[in-house]
Amino acid sequence: MRNRFITKLIDLAHHNDKLILVVGDLGYNVVEPFADLFPERFLNAGVSEQNMMGLAAGLASEGMHVFVYSIANFPLFRCAEQIRNDVDYHNLPVTIVSVGGGLAYGALGYSHHALQDYALIRTLPNMLIASPGDPQEVEGCLDFLNENPQPSYLRLGKAGEKEYHSKIPKPKPGLWQTVKESPIGSSAPTLITTGAVLQSVMEWSKHPKLKDFQIKSLPIWGLASKKNQIEQVMSTEGIVITVEDHLFDAGFGSWMKESLGGNAEAESRLRHIALTSEVFGLVGSQEALNEKGGISLESVLKILS
């Protein structure tokens, strides 16, 4: 995903001279091609996230679309107040890019586990969350953000993710994307995901009990894009299971539940798979930690039983 991100960003920067990339002393072996091509639109702000986010807002206030690139929680929690006051309140076009969403940096410890990032960004009124599920969605999200510069958070996985969309999707806030359709007339459940956890969901869907499942992704969402969720939940035939590699609390599944505004019929269809607090402080591979935290095929089978 990070490679597709930088390739696409370079492509966009060729056509948009307002686009600038600011990194927090991270991005080794990823951001160099951008820096070489656009030295005047590249900046390493150093290991100083507060200043980095503040100056990004300053650049954006002069008309630039600023992409701030770092990993996991670093461009979020240390500079949360700069995001809230400087970027979001002033409604400035800063896109925070974080590589290593969820437990992608599982072995590096709790400091590097992005388990509460949706929670932070979700409550900011002007902020959009763009959490693509495969490299094609990365491109689609970047197209959208480039055409609609605004306060936003782009959550990426790491590298090596598979492509599941045959062509570049055109994501819009709150609108579900189809990744895999159910057979006609099927009333099988729907799995709706956001972010790189789509990769796991597509693997699960090979299981015989899941083969008819409809797989959807929601790459772009946020506080202001809750509308349309009831219609989309009610348009499915079976139950709808949200899947995210984030805590359930203040995450994607709870956002979806809130979006239904207490509609009992819609809510009765909803089920959730999200990380539990059991993963706090543990280290390991992303797969092992996700499994421990409840992001697993077993969790789906349990819902079905």
């Binding site: 503040g54 990004a56 807002a57 002069e62 700069q82």
Partner: protein, 266 residues
């Protein structure tokens, strides 16, 4: 300098009236920066009160957003809006909020949490430098605000990038929210600290227009400039000067009248 004195007095009068009418805090912080503001808006800044978005304008950012009444007052004096607009200060749903608001004509940036103005100004200065714009960015900060680490990140960054188009003015009144700077977190030797961060540093009497003007005009070469303005919190109203109490208290009718009388005598 006569007209700057007059402008300062008008700012002080309007600030006192706003704070009195709304029962707001921070009057002494506003009185502390008044002469810096009158110098800036009277003689230093390039702006057009009829076109707040003039591209070539200098950018002014108040990082100590709690002292906003003084900025609202000077913006009214120089014509960004009618003086009567100030009467809505502190009213329910007013854009004239108790911490400076970008919803007010002439205000670049909302602050209120400390340590935000300088990094934001750094972004503007960097933009101007890379795009060869001639305008200058000014950030007015408090001394207590220097406790915030974000400022030191910005000090480091600005000198590395030789942002000679950035000036910060430190309102050094030596008092912060609960007690003196010295009893909270000592800033001395402040000049040496900032010099060691690669800044051009100049000290000035923060209520001496001539001295301030000279500091603004001094060339900083390729470095960003810090003006350490030695000020008195509550300046201009005898009973408010150099007292922590008036960081919070708002003047009652008698106190307002006494303050206005003192200013009238000048």
């Amino acid at each position: 300098m006569k007209e700057l004195e007059k402008l300062s007095t008008q700012i002080r009068i309007s600030s006192l009236k706003m704070v009195h009418q709304s029962g707001a805090s921070h009057i002494s912080s506003a009185l502390s920066i008044t002469d810096i503001l009158s110098t800036l808006y009277g003689k230093v800044l390039n702006y057009d009160a009829n076109n707040e978005n003039l591209e070539s304008r200098d950018r002014f950012i108040l990082s100590k957003g709690h002292a906003c009444v003084a900025v609202y007052a000077v913006l009214a004096e120089v014509g960004f809006f009618e003086k009567s607009y100030l009467e809505s200060y502190g009213e329910d749903f007013s854009d004239l909020m108790n911490h400076i608001s970008h919803k007010v004509p002439g205000v670049e940036f909302s602050t209120g949490a400390l340590g935000h103005g300088l990094p934001f100004g750094v972004g503007k200065a960097l933009f101007a430098k890379r795009n060869k714009m001639n305008w200058h960015t000014y950030v007015l900060m408090s001394d207590g605000e220097l406790d915030e680490g974000s400022n030191w990140e910005a000090f480091l960054f600005s000198s590395h990038h030789q942002l000679s188009n950035l000036t910060t003015i430190i309102d050094y009144n030596k008092l912060q929210s609960l007690t003196t700077i010295s009893d909270t977190l000592e800033l001395e030797p402040l000049v040496d600290k900032l010099k060691s961060f690669g800044w051009f540093v100049i000290e000035a009497g923060g209520h001496d227009h001539q001295d301030l003007l000279k500091a603004f005009k001094d060339s900083s070469g390729s470095k960003p400039k810090a003006i350490i303005a030695h000020t008195t919190k509550g300046k201009g109203v005898s009973f408010m000067e150099d007292s922590v109490k008036w960081h919070y208290k708002n003047p009652n009718d008698t106190e307002l009248n006494q303050a206005l009388l003192e200013l009238d005598e000048k």
